[in-house]
């Protein structure tokens, strides 16, 4: 009889279900995983070191390239670190804009996750639906910041500019008749806030649609229930945060527990799972999308009624208005200093966090008084989640590795940094 031995399988780095560039070395006994050893770093760009060689304002766009599906949450953490160290006051309106876009970002992230995760397991249709709805939110990004993905919209001391009063509109062309274009522009007649309002009315029903496809789907449940179970104690030990921790039944959300920006004034609930398996993490994220819609609605209502400053008036850290520069020497000097030398931050260190769609995203910033960070450490939410891969996959079948990886919501931009 032939000798039976374990064999080693290379999963990735070029594998569609590896969510980017993960090389996963699996030791298999038949089809059962004995050991999973993720090899990461294929996307390592040294963001932390690059930031040490850039002024604070130049380092900001690097944040977009970390977790490239939850762009503005990354920027928020960076801005909070700079603001804390330099003692910058952020206007209230800017805080509401940030919270609104953080929640838009959360939906963008969860839609991306839902589509990709469902497709990994075999539910192809989800991907098409979620990407249809992502497109709407990307248009909101574009209207506010000018870019669909790498927004570079937040600034230390506020946001780059106020929300636009009008949405860009489609024009008739060879491919779109007048009538088509009229339908496409239906939401775009008013301001960005009107556009977002239209989305808020539209989206909850779409979440219901997603759920009709998956929540009670027999195949979906067979693939996710009881797969990758993590107990609350282990989740804490392994450094889990965000939906991974909440999926295991630990009620912990930084927006509630250590509120930042204006989260303490807004009304929302924190969904918590019970069993800690992939299915619970799916339910938690679906519920989070519903809560995010509520938060967006509250912020949009507030923003509509409260015009005001969106950037700090301290011209040492924030450029003066264009018009003022034409007449004021002082403003011109500030502008020149800011865009050549940047601004300085007094010596000190801080660790600032946000509740990123994937968990706790933190920036540990050390300054020695220069115009560039001395050391910046990015605490990526997904890093400890992927580190738990071995423990979560042990004893499961090869196909379940894909489920577990999907339910961890891994993006390599932030893991490899």
């Amino acid at each position: 009889m032939a000798e039976i031995r374990n064999y080693t399988l290379n999963f990735g780095p070029q594998h569609p279900a590896a969510h980017g560039v993960l090389r996963l070395v699996l030791e298999l006994d038949g089809e059962v995983v004995e050991r999973a050893d993720p090899h990461v770093g294929l996307l390592h760009r040294g963001t932390e070191k690059l930031a040490e060689h850039k002024t604070y304002m130049q380092a900001l766009p690097y944040m977009d390239r970390l977790d490239y599906v939850s762009i503005l949450s990354n920027e928020h953490a960076f801005c909070r670190a700079v603001e804390a160290l330099r003692g910058i006051e952020v206007p209230e309106r800017a805080q509401y804009i940030r919270v609104m876009f953080d929640e838009i970002t959360r939906i963008l992230n969860h839609l991306m996750w839902l589509g990709a995760h469902a497709m990994d397991i075999g539910a192809m249709t989800m991907f098409l639906y979620t990407f249809r709805d992502r497109e709407i939110l990307m248009d909101a990004y574009e209207a506010a910041s000018g870019a669909r993905l790498h927004a570079n919209y937040y600034r230390p001391g506020g946001v780059n500019r106020d929300l636009p009063g009008a949405m860009p509109k489609y024009k008739p062309s060879k491919w779109h008749s007048e009538k088509d274009v009229e339908a496409m522009n239906a939401w775009r007649q008013g301001s960005l806030l009107d556009f977002i309002d239209a989305f808020v009315d539209y989206f909850p029903d779409r979440i219901d649609e997603f759920e009709t496809l998956l929540t009670d789907n027999r195949i979906w449940k067979q693939r996710t229930v009881g797969v990758g179970v993590v107990s609350p104690e282990r989740a804490k030990q392994l450094g889990f945060t965000g939906p991974m921790l909440r999926g295991s039944g630990v009620e912990w959300d930084l927006r509630k527990k250590q509120p930042y920006a204006v989260y303490d004034r807004l009304d929302f609930r924190v969904p918590v799972g019970t069993t800690g398996d992939s299915y619970d993490r799916y339910l938690v994220r679906i519920e989070e999308m519903r809560e995010s819609v509520k938060l967006i609605k509250q912020c949009a209502d507030w923003l509509r009624n409260n015009p005001g400053q969106v950037r700090t008036g301290d011209y040492k850290v924030s450029p003066p208005p264009r018009a003022e520069m034409k007449t004021s020497m002082e403003a011109l000097i500030h502008h020149f200093k800011l865009f050549t030398e940047g601004f300085h931050i007094p010596p000190g260190e801080t660790y600032q966090v946000v509740e990123h769609p994937k968990g706790e995203f933190g920036i540990y910033m050390v300054s020695d008084g220069a115009n560039k960070p001395y050391r910046m450490k990015i605490r990526a939410a997904g890093f400890p989640h992927l580190a738990a891969m071995d423990e979560m996959a042990k004893g499961h079948m090869l196909a379940d590795v894909v489920t577990i990886l999907g339910s961890q919501d891994i993006v390599f931009g932030e893991i490899d940094r």
Binding site: H53, Y351, A370
Partner: protein, 197 residues
């Protein structure tokens, strides 16, 4: 128990006496300086003591103080920085262990928090800090066969080698870097007078 300067210093000094080198507060965040050899016991105490109950290790990272402005020359070059979080008490704490260049060794805390595993591997990879007792201290982010520790301050930003495909040999080869760092904004330091002016 609410964390204050006195409660942290009091409890830790009562337990470890001389081992605690100092407690400082900045922007409402507390930092405790711990000698490297005591880090494992201090961490275990902070996890198990009901007043602290730090059930999560959020982050471990290295810092290289080689180029830090006005940093004393005789002071140890590296620091291993630990960020702790207590879910039950909702408080945070930062631990710092300074280690010298000749022997950058810190005991591992993997046996206290499992999450330390990859964080310590990363600090080893980037700074060359050795975590004694770590079960599997391999490089994590750098390339297989990478030489040096990329985030040290004496490691150039553009690195030492670059990779390209060599059509003659029909494979990928390493060669010395052909790029230089392009730095248009010099590093300048905070001066009270300038900022007020």
């Amino acid at each position: 128990m609410a964390l204050t300067h006195d409660t942290i210093e009091g409890s830790l000094r009562a337990k470890f006496s001389e081992a605690i080198q100092g407690v400082s507060e900045y922007l409402g965040e507390f930092t405790v300086e711990v000698p490297p050899e005591a880090i494992n016991e201090v961490c275990r105490f902070l996890r198990d003591d009901p007043d602290f109950a730090f059930d999560q290790l959020i982050d471990v990272c290295g810092v290289d103080y080689l180029a830090y402005k006005d940093y004393p020359a005789e002071a140890p070059r590296f620091a291993a920085v630990y960020h702790l979080l207590s879910l039950s008490h909702n408080h945070r704490l930062r631990l710092k262990a300074f280690v010298g260049e000749e022997r950058p060794v810190v005991p591992s805390v993997v046996d206290v928090w499992a999450s330390a595993n990859w964080f310590e591997r990363e600090a080893f990879d980037m700074f060359g800090i050795i975590f004694e007792g770590h079960p599997d201290l391999r490089r994590i982010l750098s390339d297989y066969g990478f030489a040096g520790h990329a985030f040290r301050k004496d490691f150039p930003l553009e690195g030492h080698v670059e990779m390209r495909y060599d059509p003659d040999r029909g494979r990928v080869v390493y060669q010395p870097v052909t790029i230089t760092e392009r730095n248009l904004v010099p590093r300048t330091h905070w001066q009270e007078a300038d900022e007020d002016g």
